[in-house]
Symmetry: C2
Subunit: 244 residues, 2 copies
């Protein structure tokens, strides 16, 4: 029997946001591999082995998944949101580069609704004009690179979607992010704090960057900073399609 590896996105949390493509893949799998809270989202059933691991074990987890597939299992690596956005897909290809003997395995990546799209939909349309997505965790890159990207994003007048705003190792980082953006002249921009969108803990808050406080974000929060034209209409926030 020949195995396979599928890297699938479970969406932001609610079942109604899991694509049928991913649901079908989960139903046909023999093994689920992932960070424990995401593996827990896949119901147990006879014949399904669930391999849960800790956060920050991405590369080991990817290697385990490839090994299981090479042994003939039909393995799904699960991520929250979309697997290609600050999630497991890159780690799998990194492991594959290190272990070329597995490059002949059938591999598929199945997209999902990433957190910024779910957050944007709940807020209105803050990503309706050009935007960027920045992972604020400095586990994987030097902190000055994050600041540089924030400054250039402000200069480009992108809306900015920020993932992992408060890392466990650097809780003070997000305070610095707000400082950098205030210094870059973004104080009057609209900011959206979107926490745990589509789950029972969903919470969304909109205010100006100048009013934003670091403790408004945790690791389950997706933060969107509007561009200079982003505006409110009633309870909604949107980026106009036009720019001048």
């Amino acid at each position: 029997m020949s195995g396979s590896l599928t890297i699938a996105g479970l969406g932001p949390g609610h079942e109604a946001l899991v694509t049928p493509e991913v649901s079908a893949a989960l139903a046909a799998a023999t093994d689920i591999v992932g960070y424990a809270p995401y593996v827990a989202r896949v119901p147990e059933r006879a014949g399904l082995a669930r391999h849960a691991s800790d956060n920050r074990m991405e590369l080991q987890r990817a290697g385990e998944a490839l090994r299981l597939a090479s042994e003939g299992r039909n393995v799904i690596v699960v991520s929250s949101g979309d697997p290609g956005v600050f999630a497991m897909a890159s780690a799998v290809f990194e492991a594959l580069e290190q272990q070329p003997q597995w490059q002949a395995l059938p591999i598929r990546v199945l997209p999902g609704v990433t957190a910024m799209l779910a957050a944007a939909a709940r807020a209105g349309a803050p990503l309706g004009h050009d935007f960027c997505a920045i992972n604020l965790s400095d586990n994987l890159k030097p902190w000055p690179m994050i600041e540089k990207r924030l400054r250039l994003a402000a200069e480009a007048d992108f809306s900015i979607a920020m993932y992992n705003p408060r890392s466990a190792t650097r809780p003070e980082g997000f305070a610095r992010v707000l400082e950098v953006l205030n210094e870059a002249g973004c104080g009057e921009r609209v900011v959206i704090f979107a926490r745990a969108i589509s789950t029972a803990e969903e919470h969304i808050e909109t205010l100006s960057l100048r009013q934003a406080r670091p403790e408004m974000a945790d690791m389950r929060t997706l933060v969107i900073v509007g561009n200079s034209a982003t505006r409110r209409v009633g309870r909604w926030v949107y980026a106009p399609r036009h720019a001048r």
Copy 2:
């Protein structure tokens, strides 16, 4: 009877990429409003009125949808991909700002799998590190703003997802985009041309920016330019999680 307005994303093309949330909304609708090729993706059924319009009619279309909802209809405005990314959601909120009498209507935005996520999944994980998304159409913004954003995105070392690379009104624009990025030192970067992903016409091509030719893109193509570290492993392209 009180009406409602739902702005829904149909995903990149394949039915298996439509979320159950969107499918349920379509099943409960009385009216579908949208650009003709997207409306055509919703099957006809008794009791469902389909209102198809031309491209570039976004604001009129949004106004029509709001009017129908105000008359008690359950209206869905459909977009391809995600409705919040260069699609109908911003147009609806723009119309709502112009017609405040409709601000009390129940409105929902339902996210979807946007083209860049579907394209990235097919290619590997080119959006696994910080990235930006730029709409290359200059219908809605001045061309120099596009060039400025491309230069700043290159300087920030973002991967760059480019929507609407060849607009009907400015077919020469994409040639200039490639020039700007070559001038910005991106010649050796990996570029992915992903056309009509998840449909029968799907086609994907990967090469270096220096080798890229304008005619490789049309309006159904999503182009992703890698960052300086983006690499190939076998037939896959991925952005490493780490940066130095």
